[in-house]
């Protein structure tokens, strides 16, 4: 058999005495896309960060092209032909797209002067090559989360590395953009490069990967070729127990309108939006990247600079200019960018879970620490958040578990209307099911959910109805019976 590009055995890593990775093993062959699977907190990102020289392993050996190696820093990994798309997006906000992509590799001329013309040109060509539709000279801080992710993809590919690590590269992407990535991956493997691919979207794994490795609780479980395994068994390996159904949907929409919007306008060109959601209903807001769905949620939650249109909640016209008013009106909003607007990364799990419900776990100003702890514990159990303790800093949680903390924070407010923007982003199959269960129970108990999702499966599986957005306007509406992937895409594009 040919020489593997990379062979890792016995990787171990613990943080402050808590093991994150106990036995990481992985073999990557040239020309293959190798899936690294595992539940939230299984140690995938930790493992990949060690490969990249971001973390230092406590034990284990790494062979690169058969030669033992240890990377002290990412620059050494880069020098050895490894590049990474990290799970947590990490742009330099005040710099341009081109500068971000070629950071550290800028073309220079006389006196160390950066040749910006060439730089922009190179970057634009790269982006256009993937049909990403992003201008190379725009500032990173003006991009949406999805666009930032595309830039990071372009950046990782631009290194022309032998090994490309992709840690949930599509978590913020729509399907159209994801397809661009898959096409790029095919070209890479055709040229003999290896890709390590992490995703919680199993359909992706089955369509593009050719082998898999599963970690569970920080340890290697199994590896094999993709065509020797089916979905149910993979789920079983990841979750550790068989899981029969992916979705849980037991709600029945009622007749009464809980929230309706009339002629709503929002930032960035969203206007004339009309829709309603009924008691007990799960309404999907579907659309392509940049169609304005997030802007509508921001408007509903008082985070928008534009305030046109009318919002009616349970029959009462309600003015919402601040999140406080929105919360008082019974809304809760799980935002799409958990780092920016979801989590207080300096705080611990308990702080974050209780952040929006502090008045309920305190008497007057005095915190009731017991109540705080109980509330946090309840959510940790309900959502199966993997954390050493509720006093652990959220920044130390795995990405999926961070997402669960954001969800938990809003569930604790006991809202009547839930706004969910990509709620299962980065969440493993087991936990997704927990989230679907909560959504189902919540609507059954008389709540209403509006959900933005770029995963068609999720829309098909959970929604009672879908409102499809295109270019800031409502393009159409589909009842559950009419829902299909083709129809959704047709309306959206």
């Amino acid at each position: 058999m040919e020489q593997p590009l990379l062979e890792a055995t016995g990787f171990r890593k613990s943080f402050g005495g808590v093991p994150a990775l106990r036995d990481g093993r992985f073999v990557l062959h040239p020309g293959s896309v190798h899936a690294l699977c595992g539940g939230n907190g299984a140690g995938k990102s930790t493992f990949l960060k060690i490969l990249m020289g971001i973390h230092h392993r406590d034990a284990g050996t790494l062979l690169r092209d058969g030669k033992p190696m240890t990377f002290e820093s990412p620059s050494q990994a880069l020098a050895n032909g490894i590049s990474i798309i990290e799970q947590e997006l990490s742009p330099v906000p005040a710099m341009t797209v081109a500068e971000n992509i070629y950071l550290g590799r800028e073309p220079v001329g006389l006196f160390g002067r950066v040749r910006f013309g060439d730089l922009n040109h190179m970057a634009q060509e790269l982006l256009d090559g993937f049909h990403f539709g992003i201008r190379a000279d725009s500032l990173m801080m003006d991009l949406t989360v999805a666009q930032v992710q595309l830039v990071e993809i372009a950046k990782a590919l631009s290194y022309d590395a032998e090994i490309i690590i992709m840690d949930e590269p599509t978590s913020a992407l729509g399907e159209a953009e994801a397809d661009q990535l898959f096409a790029a991956i095919k070209t890479l493997t055709a040229r003999g490069k290896g890709v390590i691919y992490v995703s919680h979207r199993l359909s992706e794994i089955f369509s593009i990967c050719d082998s898999y490795t599963v970690f569970r609780d920080g340890a290697f479980v199994e590896t094999g070729a993709m065509d020797t395994i089916d979905k149910d068994r993979l789920i079983h390996l990841v979750v550790g127990r068989p899981l029969t159904e992916e979705f849980v949907k037991e709600n029945e929409p009622g007749g009464e309108e809980m929230l309706s919007v009339r002629n709503l306008s929002a930032d960035h060109g969203v206007r004339d939006v009309n829709f309603a959601v009924r008691r007990g209903e799960i309404l999907a807001l579907y659309g392509l990247m940049g169609s304005g769905r997030t802007e509508i949620f921001d408007r509903l939650f008082g985070l928008s600079d534009t305030a046109g249109g009318e919002i009616v909640i349970e029959g009462t016209a309600t003015r919402i200019d601040t999140p406080n008013q929105a919360i008082a009106a019974g809304l809760a909003y799980v935002t799409e960018d958990r780092k920016h607007s979801g989590l207080v990364l300096t705080g611990d799990v308990r702080d974050n879970l209780c952040l929006a419900t502090l008045d309920r776990v305190s008497s007057g100003q005095l915190m009731r620490v017991g109540a705080e702890r109980d509330a946090a514990q309840r959510m940790i159990e309900t959502l199966n958040i993997k954390t050493a303790s509720d006093k652990l800093s959220v920044s130390n949680l795995s990405g999926g578990n961070q997402q669960k903390v954001v969800l938990g924070k809003w569930f604790l407010t006991e809202p009547r209307i839930l706004l969910l923007d990509e709620p299962t982003r980065g969440v493993d199959v087991g936990a997704k099911r927990e989230i679907y269960r909560v959504m189902s129970d919540f609507t059954r108990a008389g709540g209403a959910v509006i959900m933005i999702s770029s995963e068609t499966d999720e829309v098909l599986g959970m929604a009672d109805r879908a409102v499809v957005m295109r270019d800031g306007r409502v393009a159409g509406e589909l009842q559950r019976a009419e829902l299909s992937a083709e129809r959704l895409l047709h309306l959206a594009a």
Binding site: G16, L303, P323, I327, H340, V344, T346, G347, A356, Q365
Partner: protein, 320 residues
């Protein structure tokens, strides 16, 4: 549980540095551990300690308050002007010290509130807003006092700086009270939680429905009020309120906060750390004086010690 070791070392790293310094000083100078000297150190630390506790609130929200030194002076002259033996004669009542104290607290809080408004309401960067206040409050102090000390304070007022209760000097008692109260507020109250959240991620705090502006405003008011307390202690201690008092106190206060492990980036820290930081600075000053180190060398040694203490603390932290 083993998980507690990391945070534990992190929490006590700087305390170890403090203890180490004390052990060395005790070995070198027999007076260092005398009751009298311990009281001296605590009393000398009280002013910077109280300022630093107020500063901790501000820094926890990602802010900074450069005006505390000027506020110390302003509060000093304003409150003292209600407590000179001559005014006391005029308004002549046993409540005078009380009125003076109320005026002092009100002045400090008001100045803090102005800074807080600029930062919270008008989004002026905290550095600029409080630098402006540093200059303006000093100017007001000089105008109010005509550049002269407000002298001859009544004994009732001076008690704040020189009195004692059961043998413990009042400044130390106030320092202790402020510490306990601040610790309680930050760890046990809803407002305290808000302060940490606003500093950790203002945007997330806003989305979660917290009154971000009001919290920002409040921390400057708190810092101003505590600078007021410090100003009255100082006036009481020195016997008259000097308009030139408090110059550059902000640096020592911020230093205590940062040495105590609070992050200038906001959201992380505790007042217990700040108190240890302030004590470290106080012990250092006291120890070097006790040992009679020449002043030029004192400055070099102080610079080195500050860094060494923090190095000792940081070296216990895990990798980046």
């Amino acid at each position: 549980m083993t998980t507690r070791i990391g945070p534990l070392a992190q929490r006590y790293g700087i305390l170890i540095a403090l203890i180490l310094l004390c052990v060395v000083l005790a070995a070198v100078n027999e007076n260092f551990l005398s009751q009298r000297n311990i009281i001296n150190v605590l009393r000398q630390t009280s002013i910077n300690g109280i300022l630093a506790i107020g500063m901790t609130f501000v820094i926890l929200t990602r802010g900074i308050d450069l005006s505390v030194g000027s506020v110390v002076a302003l509060v000093g002259v304003v409150s003292a002007s209600f407590a000179t033996t001559s005014t006391a004669g005029v308004i002549g009542s046993p409540y005078m010290p009380l009125i003076a104290v109320v005026m002092g607290l009100a002045t400090g809080t008001a100045v803090g509130a102005v800074s807080g408004t600029m930062v919270a309401r008008f989004s002026v960067p905290a550095f600029v807003a409080t630098l402006g206040m540093l200059s303006a409050a000093r100017g007001l102090t000089l105008i109010y006092s005509g550049g002269r000390p407000v002298p001859a304070l009544t004994d009732g007022y001076r008690w704040i700086g020189t009195g004692d209760i059961a043998g413990i000097p009042v400044p130390i008692i106030l320092f202790g009270l402020v510490f306990v109260l601040a610790h309680f507020v930050l760890t046990q109250t809803r407002f305290g939680r808000h302060v940490y959240a606003v500093g950790g991620n203002p945007h997330a705090a806003k989305v979660s429905g917290l009154p971000v502006r009001r919290i920002r405003f409040a921390v400057y008011a708190i810092s101003g009020a505590l600078a007021g307390v410090a100003g009255m202690i100082l006036a009481g201690r020195t016997g008259s309120a000097l308009p030139q008092a408090g110059v550059a106190y902000e640096l020592d206060a911020i230093a205590a906060v940062v040495i105590g492990g609070t992050s200038l980036a906001g959201g992380i820290g505790r007042v217990s750390g700040t108190v240890i930081g302030a004590l470290l600075i106080g012990v250092m000053n006291n120890g070097l004086d006790l040992m009679g180190v020449e002043s030029y060398y004192q400055q070099v040694i102080k610079g080195g010690l500050i860094v060494a203490a923090v190095l000792l603390d940081r070296s216990r932290k895990s990798e980046d």
